[in-house]
Symmetry: C2
Subunit: 285 residues, 2 copies
Amino acid sequence: MKLVKTVAELQAIVKEVKKSGRTIGLVPTMGALHEGHASLIRAAHAENDFTIVSDFVNPTQFGPTEDLDAYPRTLDHDCELAEAMGADVLFAPSPKEMYPSKDMTWVEVTGDITKVLCGRTRPIHFRGVATVVSKLFNLAQPDKAYFGQKDAQQAQVLKRMVKDLFFPLEIRVMPIVREEDGLAKSSRNVYLTPEERKAAVILNRALKKAEAAFAAGERNSAKLVALTADIIRTEPMSNIDYVEMYQLPELTEAEAEITTDHLLAVAVKFGTTRLIDNVILAVNK
Amino acid sequence: MKLVKTVAELQAIVKEVKKSGRTIGLVPTMGALHEGHASLIRAAHAENDFTIVSDFVNPTQFGPTEDLDAYPRTLDHDCELAEAMGADVLFAPSPKEMYPSKDMTWVEVTGDITKVLCGRTRPIHFRGVATVVSKLFNLAQPDKAYFGQKDAQQAQVLKRMVKDLFFPLEIRVMPIVREEDGLAKSSRNVYLTPEERKAAVILNRALKKAEAAFAAGERNSAKLVALTADIIRTEPMSNIDYVEMYQLPELTEAEAEITTDHLLAVAVKFGTTRLIDNVILAVNK
């Protein structure tokens, strides 16, 4: 595996790979790779001839009070893991490489899809994500790009972007990878104290209860949301940012009685650490 | 030459062309093709294996009081001209094809470059241009894309967009094509009454005087601007929107005494028709 730090070097590699007719899989990450990322890289490696993992803590998707500086950076570990999972290139550029101009060119997906859930408390987040992912798409020119279902809203936003701007690629969304006790893998889990870490399992437990109620026939969206929030609130260390349900794929208002696929998503703080998790309530599963 | 009206059909054609390793030239137009467009198509045909001309009056780059509905549509003529110049495909989609979602995904280049000149009186114009051209780039996947120097600010904005978002292509800017009396070719010239048409030659005449003064050693930007504006004002039918000079490539404030390449650009109304023209004052020409 090759560690690539400049745009020019990546462009040269991609040009050669495209010329030889090989397919490219791209796994955009912010580094601090864990088992969730590993599953994406494995899938990219299995489904494409050449796998590029990007490793870039993107400043434009962090708000002024968020954890940009504290975000874990583990490049040596990332290289080892990416290589072991079959990556051909790990692309780890500097912010200056990714943002060459004094002023920005933004890519922005508008509508409910970026206003609800994390969009409400993180108003510039998805503009930063759409912008950096557009840059990565143009650099890596992938046939398929891999994202985790854990960032469910991000996956829907990027699918809309690909549809609207006609990017010639397929977005593949891979299942959430969890710890043994059910906590969704996240680079931010390292921020948790041992007590918070224990408390955080309530998220998955609550979502599983809602999923079970849905499977047993409950179709009232307000009841499913209330059930989830009530269970999370039984954990005294939890501090709910949101527990909400929206209709897929555009994250429009949930139906009162669910007849189509919906996303049930939560964002909850434990101490200063904000965790997200979700489940898709699929009517034809 | 093939007339293509749907995104899906264009995508299928581009996929085949790319697979065969042929290079693609793209000429984005709003139709109403004239000799200026013809020169772009000829260049694309000469420099690439496969030439795609798009023909789409893009609604998102027109302001609410602008000439979207009146803009000339001449599809049959456009097909004939594009084919004669060597185009392989004329892509003439509907607005619904190009804008498939209820809400928009925007591409926006920020900074002086989109705020000055036409950006001041047409605040949403370049966002519409950047968005539709991004879509066309992703659809046609060109090696080279062709634009006219007549829309000088547009060319600079799109170069910035390509640089910032790393589109894997080259922007080619081709010289202004003029009528025999010097008026720059424009789809909007058909709006002019015979009297306005005669009066409009003052634009080129004024810019040529400024160019001559510059060639003769005049380096004071304010003087060159004043000289240009004074000549245009000698034409009673002219109504100046702007006569301005900016530093290339970012359209930052002009130097008092010019030491680098600058753009001298004018927008002038004749009756209800707004015409633009420009000249590059190149220090190392």
